[in-house]
Every structure is written in structure tokens, then in C-alpha cells.
């Protein structure tokens, strides 16, 4: 059963097509790269997937259910099943590492005990156990991104979507990050990673969905960045 399905999705911004009849599906436990140059439509796919945007036509299914009709709490529930990692981290400067991760649990009204149990576990998974009390301005770019991943994992999502997660970090940190994402995938979480980092894609030998100018150009198992 596909976990995520895009059916002939067309999305326009001010009359300009960001996605043009794009269709693909992603199964449980897959690790998929969505690649393409800037403006290819990668971030639009992420926004459609978390129901931040609506398409002009087509349908988006999550676990066989169309998400286009979702509103209010249904959208919130969807976002609890899809963890997101952003290129710009989206961390709160006024909160330390622990509290930045805890926010994902606070919004689902988790108890303090649950927060105290879960946050150290996910921080340990991303290798930040020793930096719990540091603030974002005391962390490197790679560490900030790992906090962002820990936050995305806190409520045990079915899918982890990373939108250009290596875009603002150095190559060594990017490699570290990939190891973490692969580890997360091996533990049973579907990982969808939008990127234009050719080195990472080519080395991983994973499925690659390639977009260009809003159109799906190729969808290859164990693919490479370039055709």
C-alpha cells in the first residue's frame, strides 16, 4: 500500500505552473530523494504534502486518504504523522535544545513525564545528548539541523520529510546528517528528502524522483542525481 500518492498534481502561483501533472507514489519504509534545480517544484511538493498549500488540480493521498478536504484538526493530525526538517532549521533562539525538541510534544499535550522520557531518546538518536542545555546560537549548522530532525521525530511520525536539509551545512555535517536519516529509515520511518546535493544522492543509491520546471522527468530505483 502506498503511503504517499500524488495524482496528476498541478499547482500554480500567480498563473505560473510550479508543478505540472506530477504523479508518483511512495511506499512504507522507503527512502526517496526528490531532486531538481531551484524552482523545480521540490518545496511545493513538501507544502502540498503537509497541506500548507492546495493544488489547482489532482489529488494528494496519505495512507489512501485524500488530504485535500482536510481542515482544522485533521491537518494537525496529518502533521503529527509527517515530521518535517527545514533547510533553515526553524529553531527558537530563546529555547534551549531540549525545549526546541519538546515543543513538538507540548503541542500534542504530552505530559511532562512523557516529554522527559522521549526528548533525551531522540536527542541520543541524533547524537546530541551532551548538548541538551545549549541554545541554538551555541550550535553549529549541522547540530542545528540535527535538533530539527530530533524535533521532527519526537512524536514518532510515519514519514520524515526533509526539505533541503543539507543546504546550510558543511559537507562533513551533511554526511553525518545522511547517516542519521538512513538510521531513522532503517528503524521503519519513511524518509523523503528534497535536495540538490548531487554528492549525497549519488552516493546513497536510493530511489530518485527528478523534477525539472515543475514536471516529473524521471523516477529511478537506485538512481543518480543526473540521468
Amino acid at each position: 500500500m502506498p503511503q504517499i500518492e500524488f495524482k496528476k498534481i498541478t499547482k500554480e502561483y500567480a498563473g505560473v505552473k510550479a508543478l505540472n501533472e506530477v504523479s508518483f507514489s511512495i511506499r512504507d519504509d522507503e527512502f526517496v530523494f526528490i531532486v531538481g534545480p531551484s524552482g523545480a517544484g521540490k518545496s511545493t511538493i513538501v507544502k502540498l504534502l503537509i497541506r500548507e498549500e492546495l493544488p489547482k488540480s489532482g489529488d494528494v493521498l496519505f495512507k489512501d486518504q485524500s488530504i485535500l478536504g482536510f481542515c482544522g484538526d485533521e491537518i494537525s493530525n496529518l502533521r503529527r504523522k509527517i515530521g518535517i526538517v527545514f533547510q533553515d532549521f526553524k529553531l527558537l533562539e530563546s529555547r534551549n535544545v531540549f525545549d526546541n525538541v519538546a515543543i513538538a510534544l507540548e503541542v500534542v499535550d504530552a505530559s511532562e513525564r512523557e516529554i522527559k522520557d522521549i526528548v533525551p531518546n531522540v536527542l541520543s538518536l541524533v547524537g546530541l545528548s551532551s548538548k541538551t542545555n545549549l541554545f541554538p546560537n551555541q550550535l553549529s549548522g549541522g547540530e542545528k539541523q540535527r535538533v530539527s530532525i530530533a524535533r521532527a521525530l519526537a512524536h514518532e511520525p510515519d514519514v520524515l520529510v526533509a526539505d533541503e536539509p543539507t543546504g546550510m551545512i558543511d559537507p562533513d555535517s551533511a554526511d553525518e546528517l545522511m547517516k542519521i536519516l538512513e538510521k531513522i529509515n532503517s528503524l521503519g520511518t519513511t524518509v523523503v528528502m528534497c535536495t540538490h546535493d548531487e554528492h549525497i544522492v549519488d552516493r546513497s543509491k536510493r530511489r530518485v524522483i527528478r523534477l525539472d520546471d515543475g514536471k516529473l522527468k524521471s523516477d529511478t530505483q537506485k538512481g543518480k542525481y543526473r540521468e
Binding site: 503537509i50 484538526d73 494537525s76 496529518l78 503529527r80 518535517i84 526553524k90 515543543i103 503541542v107 519526537a154
Partner: protein, 295 residues
Amino acid sequence: MNSTVKRMMQNIKRERLMSTSNILVMFVTFMVLGVFLYVIALSQTAFRYLENQAQVTVFFKDDFVEKNILELKDKYVADKRISEIKYVSKEDAFKIFSEINKNEPALLESISASILPASLEVKAKRISDLSSLAEEFSKIDGVEEVRFFKEVIETFRFWSTTAYIIGFILVGIFMLISYSIVISTIRTTISSKGAELEIMKLVGATDDYVKSPLIYQGVTFGFVSSLAAGIVFVFISAVASFFKVLSFGITFGFLHGLFLHPIVFSVFLLLFLLTSGCLLGYLGSYTAVSKYLKY
């Protein structure tokens, strides 16, 4: 503690200075609102007091004897427009005259009860009925003169009504100011927490989870500031009562003939301010959240 209240308290604690200044601004607004309401009530009280004192005095000719006057009094005593009708005989009039002029023995020696006219003192329930009553009495045979200070009463009535209308317009304006203060307060909070609110939404917070603490915050600001303003008015009224100021009570335009003790009045004012504070806090924060919370 309820998690929404807890998160609201965290918001207020994190923005302690801004919260304090917002509460102070709203406190001043509610103080001004309360002062206006007090001014309106006092002007109404003065008007009602004068209204109660205002009367038509009907003087009778000497040939209109006491029996006829008392019959006339009995006829009017049941009139719905009249609150009180009192017969003042020639002897009573002389007693009053003597009391007023007790330091003028020469004048008193030259006047006797027979010179002074008997009269009826008529008080109306509403000041507006005095004119029609005066006209009716003046048409009765045996009435020599009808006297009442029409122009003074009409002038006071005009200014009292004007003060009443202007006061209510000003109260309305201050309500609007309070409302816009709450909106800008919550707007500031939303602006300062923009990133946090956006992240909350992206990690799966429900609309209620994000909005409720902000709405609670608006209501709390309204509640605390109006409560503080109300307590000040209760305190002032308690001091006024202690010094026996306004001992006859305070009334309001729509509470005809009902005079409230100043402390009771200020408790009603406190309840009114509290209700207004909470309502304005709710409406203001709800508007701000709907208008400015975009994620």
C-alpha cells in the same frame, strides 16, 4: 493547572515588561471609563435631586376657601403625574414666612396670616409634567397665581440631557479605545511570537492550541486591568461614604427614583467594568488572532 492557562502564564512571564505595560494602559483606559460613568451618574443624581425638589406652587384667592382647596387636593392626589401634593394654609404660610424673616421684627409686625394666600405645593414624578400641571391649575377658578421656575428647570434639564448623551458617546469611544488596545496588545504578542506559532502549527498544533492562550491572555489583561480600576472606585466610594459625601445616594438615568449607596453603586460599577473588561479582552484578542495570526 489547565495547560492553556499554563501556556498563557508562560507567555505573560516571558514578556513580563510588555504584559505589565499593556495591563497598565488598559487600567488607565478603564479608570477613564469609570470616571466618565461616575460623572454621568453624578450629573443624573443632581438632576434627579433637583427634579424631586422642583414643584409648582398654586396660590389661591381669599374667596377660594380651605374646603374647596382640600377638595381640589383630593382630586389631584391620585393623579399619576403627581408624586406629592401638600396643602399650605394661610397659617402655615405665615409660620414659614415668620421663620424666614425671624430677624425682621418690624416686617413681621406689619404682616398677618390673613394677608398671605393659602396654597398647594405640587411635586411631579417627572419634571416634564410640571408645565402641563401648571397650565391646568392656572385655568381653575379661584387660583390667583401659579409659580414654578420653568426656565431654570428647563435649562438644567437641557444641560443634564446633553451631559448624559455626551457622556455615553465618550463611554462608547473609550470602549472602542479599550478594544483597539487589546487588539494591538495581542497583535504585538503575535508578532513577537510569530516564529514560535509557525513552528507549533508545522509540528501539528491544533488551531485551538495556538489561539487559546492568546485569547485567554486578552481576557486576563481585560479582567486584571478592569478589576484594578473597579477596586479603586470601590475604595474612593468607601472613603466618600466615611466622610458622608453623597449620603443621599447615587442614581442613574434609567433607574428612576432609585438612589444607591455610593459603595453599592461602585460595586455595580466594578461589575460593569469587569464584564466590559472580559468582553473587550475576548473580542479584542479574538479579532487580533483572526486578523493577524497567519501561519
